[in-house]
Amino acid sequence: MAQVVLKDVVKNYGGVYAVNHVSLTVEDGEFVALVGPSGCGKTTTLNLVAGLIPMSGGTITIGDRDVTDLDPKDRDIAMVFQNYALYPQKSVYRNLAFPLQMRKMDKAEIDRRVQAAAKTLDITHLLERKPRELSGGQQQRVALGRALVREPRAFLMDEPLSNLDAKLRVQMRSEIKRFHQDLGATIIYVTHDQLEAVTMSDKMAVMNGGFLQQYDSPANVFANPVNMFVASFVGSPAMSLVPLTAVSKGTDVVLASPEGWEMPLSDANGRKALSAKSNKVVLGGRHSTIQVHKAQVPGSVPGKVYTVEPTGDVTFAQVFVSGAVVNVSVAPSFQLRPDEPVFLEFDQNRMHLFDAETEMALTL
């Protein structure tokens, strides 16, 4: 296993940048998730690491070797594809053996490794079958096995779970995590599902529009999103964003709504709000940090219930606040009706403030 370093990696098609100066370091043995909406450049980035498409600029090193100009076969990496890409004409055994044969390993060693990989993944009984005779989950295991036999320096996975049904996906998710823990493998994992990224990875790299937005542990990305995109992309339901205006009132700072109400800010939040380029500030809050009241309490803001979605152990609701939709959650015993007026109290210590102009988080 080895460290993977991307430095200023660029891929452009004509004038369109698919990957725009992305730099990130994947430490030896780390599980990094590349996550973002479709077309954000995550798969392109992975293909650049694999060497499947030529780079337009920058360098990639794997371990101590600069692989920027190397063919995929010389990079000593393994890849698991979204559609598994098993060789249809070969049996499972020969699928697993193929990467070893290509490396001119002797037959006994190939057999030993294939059997070992098959045992690890519990597919020994499938070795003589053809890929089309396997279920989706089994094909997925074979694809993992083919990556595993070679003991590569790094594993690249391109949405490996997206073709599975929901139940199997959860199961394979924990299996891949287990696989990572047991092998101490360096894994770069592409997904559009932020939940997969949050639950599986040591670090997540959030991408959008070809740019790397934030690269940190899931906990940090969740707690301290650097900008409005990351804030709204990570977490389910998404963080609610309400555009407001910061106004100084003597020593205090309040957020004023065009609807006429004002929300006082704590000292620290007040200073953050004033650091924005203009006085346009976006208030961000996750559902778990917003209290819902039926009557006005100090610091709360008025809103109107839009929809109510009971899920059993928690009830989610969407509330219109100053023209924006705010996701909140309440206990199932707390009765809410559509169109009911409510008052929302944002937790001053856990609220987020963004500069409406730059869309960046405001920090002290």
Binding site: A50, A85, P99
Partner: protein
């Protein structure tokens, strides 16, 4: 309830009626295509005298294989000619087929996988040839062959057949390569294969049905071609079967049983090829019709 049962019965008879109509149509079609073949075979078993009788003998009173023996007897002049034509046809058709596959496989792969300037234009230019009747090219190609000094050589035929066979071969194969996920090659390249190995070891085996269909198509096209062979070749020892068989007409009186025997033997390779490889052929022509 009774009303719905009745409706169902009426519905059923409707389908059955169409089914019987369909069967009748197929039988007629079968008769239409098989009868000439059958008559050809029956005639080939007759003596020259029996073949000219009227009313015809539906089944020869004295069936004989003598016509066939004569054709494959290397000591008689007829046998010598026939075997030479046969060999010429095999040679020209086989070489055409091999060259067609050798050119079409990489060409189709390139059209399917690579984006290069003029790709679309070239691809449709390849088809342009097929929009004109073959005769249009007869004279220009003859002049070209004369300039190249290829008249009266098998090379002229092979080149010509390739210009006719390649466009469809490339189209057919491109469809195949389009249907093979590019990830298979990518996986192979990551697994340690070079680009060529990925193509040769993974992609090409998957396109075998396409390659076989292409081969059959090229072979049959070359095997049956008449007008170019008739124009480009004037020397007897160069002639292919379709032209050669014609000589059975022209010299002296027409030897019908001999002609039919020769024709029957000429159709054997095509029929055998088709029977052996038909399942690939059907698969190739319907490939990509539905998502697997």
């Amino acid at each position: 309830m009774s009303a719905s049962t009745e409706a169902a019965v009426i519905h059923r008879t409707g389908i059955d009626g169409w089914r019987w109509f369909g069967r009748l149509f197929l039988v007629l079609l079968l008769g239409f295509t098989v009868m000439p073949m059958l008559w050809m075979f029956i005639t080939s078993l007759k003596t020259g005298f029996a073949a000219m009788q009227y009313p015809p003998q539906w089944w020869p009173t004295e069936p004989t294989l003598e016509n066939y023996w004569r054709l494959i007897d290397p000591t008689s002049s007829v046998g010598q000619d026939f075997l030479r034509y046969f060999w010429n046809s095999v040679w020209v058709s086989t070489l055409t087929t091999i060259l067609a596959v050798v050119v079409a496989v990489p060409a189709a792969y390139a059209f399917s996988r690579f984006r290069f300037p003029g790709r679309t234009f070239l691809f449709f230019a390849v088809l342009l040839r097929n929009m004109f009747p073959a005769v249009v090219f007869l004279v220009p190609l003859f002049i070209l062959m004369r300039v190249l000094g290829l008249v009266n050589t098998h090379g002229s035929l092979i080149l010509t057949y390739l210009t006719f066979g390649l466009p469809l071969a490339i189209w057919l194969l491109k469809g195949f390569y389009d249907n093979i996920p590019v990830q298979l090659e990518q996986a192979a390249r990551i697994d340690g294969a070079t680009r060529f190995q990925a193509f040769f070891l993974i992609v090409m085996p998957l396109s075998t049905p396409g390659i076989i269909a292409t081969s059959i198509y090229s072979f049959i096209g070359a095997w049956n071609e008449y007008i170019y062979a008739y124009t480009f070749l004037t020397r007897h020892d160069q002639m292919t079967l379709p032209v050669g068989i014609q000589r059975f007409f022209s010299e002296n009186a027409t030897d019908w049983p001999g002609l039919m025997a020769a024709t029957f033997m000429m159709s054997i390779p095509v029929v055998v090829l088709f029977l052996v490889l038909q399942r690939y052929f059907v698969r190739a022509l319907t490939e990509g019709a539905v998502k697997h």
